[in-house]
Amino acid sequence: MDVDGTRERMAAYLRDHHDKVVGRWSELVVAGVRGRTSREEVRRELEDLYTLVVRVLSGADDHAAGELTAALDELSRGRARDGFTPSETALGVFSLKEAVYELVADSAELVPEYLALTRMVDDLGLRTFETYSVTREQIISDQATAMLELSTPVVRLWDGIIAVPLVGTLDSARTQLVMEKLLDTLVATGADHAVIDITGVPTVDTEVAQHLLKTVSAARLLGAECTISGIRPQVAQTIVSLGIEFGDIATKATLADALALALRQAGLKVVPA
């Protein structure tokens, strides 16, 4: 809000002293960046922001505010990805105040105008903090998804026999991914037997058992038979004590046993050469 034209006057001042202010601002930011971004790039980024800041202050057009926040968010995201701390980015924004202060310090007339500028710059600086959090969260989430993908391979053991070696906990997110990969592989390879190996699954409780049952049901809908292998003695005891029933799903101690069973069911026999 610019009831008495304060912001407009600041905008005009910034326009008149463009080169000096942007130059000084650049210097201050470059000092903080410590070589992680080039001078030219910093200057370019700040020129863009500066122009937008002036437009917003002058109140000339309605789009300026949206463009400014977009440009600032883009800058913050880039900095977050490049490993800058949120303080470093924020301080870079705040240093515009210092650059302007150095010029207006002597004239007492521009105090209200300067105040209007500082209010605006403070908001912008705070915003970069928020963008930082959101960006980091997105990165962490993407990494988690990538890790999930990597740790869920589906391998072909033999003609018509595929295996899903599970390593780590089997939660609902993992189960969804396992089901998708398993079923897609069944379609792609035309396999009719899947061995789900849980040697690498640390705990098998009622929830994990349900996830396994779901996975087997889904595979069966595509005509595949399943065997669960890798039942360690400890796990076997837990399963029994929890009263978990695997019904008509074959279970074996090791992947080797499960492979032998699958080969037998496929009518194949392994003989010495």
Partner: protein, 117 residues
């Protein structure tokens, strides 16, 4: 209302569902299959759902009912070509297609049906 065609190939009734199923179409298919089973004495029913994107409770019930009806005529039903996304959804729903066997594709489905008879 569209009707799903039923083909007789040897001793097998072959149904390939290619359209978006409306409830009326589903009911009609069930009736038509019962008629055909009675009229032809076929030993098996092969239902191909490779092109089906959605199987909800109504369609699921139809499939189970067809399985039961076939059994009354001493015929076996095999459902083939279920899409992974559909299988996962059905599992989430907890729907069991009791009494209906499944196979990956028509070829394997026929092997199942012929192996039986």
């Amino acid at each position: 209302m569209e009707r799903v065609p039923i083909l007789k190939i040897g001793e097998i009734l072959f149904v390939s569902i290619q359209i978006d199923l409306q409830d009326d179409t589903v009911i009609r298919l069930q009736e038509d299959l019962a008629d055909e089973l009675g009229a032809t004495g076929a030993h098996g029913v092969l239902i191909d759902i490779t092109a089906v994107e959605i199987v909800d409770s109504f369609i699921g019930r139809m499939l189970t009912t067809i399985g039961s009806i076939s059994r009354l005529f001493d015929a076996e039903t095999v459902l083939v070509g279920m899409r992974p996304a559909v299988a996962i959804t059905l599992t989430e729903l907890g729907l069991s297609l009791g009494g209906v066997r499944t196979a990956l594709n028509a070829e394997k489905g026929l092997e199942l049906l012929n192996g039986k008879s």
